[in-house]
């Protein structure tokens, strides 16, 4: 009986180890790369992002942005053009995010102002922008372990718990903790930290569904960790592939970006 149990236990352990093998065969960096592909397609696209900001539990502001995204073949990083649609006071404003070449354009003053990576984080455009970042391009990853966490739809997800540290000067955040679901490589949760180590944002992905040729998140929930009474949800709508010429990423193109 005891021997039988030992054999059974050994077989069970070996079976479980075999199940674990495919997961372990992925390097942490490969996990992040696969998760990037779940979030971002490999070709240029646009989306209309609706951001709803909750203050102390109540919806307060709603912004809409059109994000045009295209991967730079050299850096494998996405470059974004953001056009504000809502609220009315910001309608028509635009931003160009291309590595360190960041510009903000206001049609009222017809002025293009260059902004720093830190200044990029001010304002809602940064949220829509950050969500297209290919993390694998800017971060080195280590596996902290496996964890079962609850996602934003209250489902238990078995995840890789990853620690990402910035290795390029174009990385927006200094450090990210990242939870990616086993098997599906779906990003479930992320925590973003500043250079000083301060927790800035907590992010959950939810609403996975078929769009742009794969199952991708249709919504993100962002909790402001500095002021936890602030929560923002982002719905990714009207996703479609779109040809985006390289000239669009010139600052002088910003005033010419037409609404479609």
């Amino acid at each position: 009986m005891r021997r039988s149990f030992r054999v059974f236990a050994t077989v069970l352990l070996l079976a479980m180890a075999a199940v674990a093998m495919p997961a372990a065969a992925q390097t942490p960096q490969e996990i992040v790369a696969a998760a990037d592909k779940v979030r971002n397609p490999g070709q240029p696209f646009r989306s209309t992002d609706t951001l709803t900001e909750y203050v102390a539990g109540r919806p307060r502001d709603q912004d809409q942005l059109v994000v045009y995204a295209k991967e730079d073949p050299g850096t494998r990083q996405f470059r974004n053009l953001v056009r504000y649609i809502e609220p009315p006071r910001d309608a028509g404003k635009m931003a160009l995010f291309d590595k360190h070449d960041l510009w903000f354009y206001d049609p009222s003053s017809k002025a293009s102002v260059r902004i720093s990576p830190q200044q990029r984080l001010i304002g809602q455009a940064s949220i829509g922008d950050v969500l297209t970042v290919n993390l694998v391009a800017d971060y080195a990853t280590t596996l902290l372990g496996d964890e079962t966490i609850t996602d934003a739809e209250r489902q238990q997800r078995q995840c890789w718990h990853l620690d990402l540290k910035a290795v390029t000067d174009t990385a927006i955040y200094n450090r990210i903790e990242y939870w990616v679901e086993h098997g599906s490589f779906r990003p479930v949760k992320a925590k973003f930290f500043s250079d000083s180590g301060r927790l800035l944002k907590i992010l959950y992905y939810r609403g996975y569904r078929e769009q742009l040729g794969a199952v991708r998140p249709s919504e993100a929930v962002i909790i402001d960790a500095v002021d936890s009474s602030l929560v923002t949800t982002i719905q990714f709508g009207n996703l479609q592939f779109q040809d985006i010429p390289e000239a669009w990423f010139q600052r002088d193109y910003l005033p010419r970006l037409r609404a479609e």
């Binding site: 006071r89 964890e147 949760k189 709508g237």
Partner: protein
């Protein structure tokens, strides 16, 4: 990009770790407490939002009421000639910006402001109570993906600095009745110039060529009480032939200098705009323009004589160097955003070689003290400074500019802005603080306080306006 490298030993270690983790999967209860921060209203995915048509981003219309109160000094060393600035004014205006697609790659753009105003120094109602500023009206043709031809009244803005833009050549005379000293807002209500503009943008840069024809004669500087009601005021923008050629070229990933060549009347200027990122928080910038011109004083007196404001044969009220030689304009500074804040600081140094030297300032005050009793002397002295304001050029040679903008200051949707413009030659200056609170997606309420300081023999201490208070309510349509 640095790839994560795994050795066989490390991989084996990961397998073992994964194995044991699988045996006892961690339930990250601590992580799950973060979910409690999501408010119930946002727990479930909200119903699919119907996106606002992107075409709505081509228009912005708002109604604003702005009340200004301006305390005046009554102990001026150089008395200000009539009309004195209004001590109070209320302005209700409809500000519109729109674009229509006419098909065949042609769009029509309009931008303007319709004002109803009342002030202590203008009769109400009168034609001065109703004014319209036609900022822009132009057709834009796009013959291919990256080429545009614009024809009509267009606002062309150049420059990378915030407080003063030497390369913003079309700024002259274009600002009508400013409500603020904030240069970033001043540009929102300025007149465009009637022009033909061609632009081509390619992967590595862009080139823009502009021809703005002379369609009328130069006119006298306007005051608060003689602004036309419905008039495009082309005399402000098209009183001489002007040409501009500018190009930016991407030298590296984050360095794209812009070069400019500008010709107006009998003067030619060249200029450049440079920006460079320093770390994650700082953008440094330099904006320079240079060309042959006379001093500000000589230019002002010549313009006054040309437009009939000053007697043609009258001698200069103060020494004026009318010699034309190469003079420089410079704005150099940086923006800085501290980590983990929504605060942006700008600090700039401005050099305007044609502006008042310290000796010019002494001459200006001494002329009033010695000859102010002669009719026409004080108005001529003030005319020089009005000319500088009308031309949107600094009065003095050396100045500093500081601006701070704080988004979501103290509470969400409160934006605070503070700026200072300091004359480095006499230490006088202007301070302005603005608070705007976004009550909702369509309502904004705001206030602004302005203060000028300095000795009586200083640039800002000699102004008739001691400061000002502005209250405003905005409804976006």
């Amino acid at each position: 990009m640095r790839r994560f490298i795994t050795s066989p030993a490390r991989r084996a270690g990961e397998v073992i770790c994964a194995f044991f983790l699988l045996l006892s999967p961690a339930l990250a209860a601590d992580e799950d407490t973060d979910l409690n921060l999501i408010p119930p209203a946002a727990q479930a995915a909200p119903p699919a939002v119907v996106p606002v048509p992107a075409s709505s981003a081509t228009q912005r219309n708002y109604l604003e009421d702005a009340f200004t109160f301006t305390p005046l000094r009554n102990d001026l060393l150089v008395p200000y000639p009539p009309p004195t600035p209004a001590s109070w004014e209320d302005r209700l205006f409809l500000d519109s910006r729109d674009e229509w697609n006419l098909g065949n790659n042609v769009t029509l753009d309009y931008s303007g402001r319709f004002n109803l105003r009342a002030a202590n120094d203008i009769p109400f109602p009168s034609h001065e109570s109703v004014r319209n500023d036609l900022r822009e009206l132009f057709l834009s043709l796009q013959p291919d993906d990256s080429t545009w031809i614009d024809l009509g009244r267009v606002n062309v803005k150049s420059g990378v600095a915030v407080g003063y833009n030497p390369t913003d050549f079309f700024r002259t005379r274009a600002v009508v009745e400013p409500l603020t000293a904030d240069p970033t807002i001043l540009r929102e209500d300025r007149l465009g110039t009637l022009m033909l503009l061609g632009q081509h943008v390619w992967t590595g840069g862009s080139v823009t060529a502009v021809f703005a024809p002379k369609v009328t004669q130069p006119t006298a500087i306007y005051t608060n009480i003689d602004l036309p009601s419905f008039d495009p005021m082309l005399d402000r923008t098209n009183a001489q032939d002007r040409f501009l050629l500018k190009s930016s070229v991407a030298v590296s990933n984050d360095f794209s200098p812009e070069l400019l060549l500008y010709h107006a009347g009998d003067r030619t200027q060249v200029g450049t705009n440079l920006t460079v990122g320093i770390g994650q928080q700082t953008i440094a910038y330099v904006e320079w323009a240079g060309g042959g011109r006379a001093s500000l004083i000589a230019d002002a007196l010549a313009y006054g004589r040309q437009t009939g404001t000053l007697p043609k044969q009258a001698p200069p009220v103060i020494p004026a160097d009318a010699t034309q030689y190469f003079q420089n304009d410079l704005a150099a500074g940086f923006s800085y955003t501290p980590v983990d804040t929504k605060l942006t600081l700008n600090l700039e140094y401005h050099y305007h070689e044609a502006g008042f030297t310290s000796q010019d300032w002494r001459n200006w005050f001494n002329a009033a003290a010695q000859h102010g009793n002669i009719p026409g002397v004080d108005p001529a002295l003030w005319y020089i400074r009005s000319y500088a304001q009308d031309q949107q050029e600094p009065e003095t040679r050396h100045s500093a500019f500081v601006r701070a903008d704080w988004t979501d200051a103290f509470v969400t949707d409160l934006e605070l802005t503070a700026l200072a413009n300091i004359n480095l030659q006499d230490g006088s200056g202007l301070l302005q603080a603005t608070a705007d609170y976004y009550l909702s997606r369509v309502w904004t309420i705001g206030g602004q306080a302005t203060l000028t300081f300095g000795g009586r023999r200083s640039e800002f201490g000699s102004l008739p306006q001691a400061g000002g208070i502005l209250l405003r309510l905005v409804r976006y349509l």
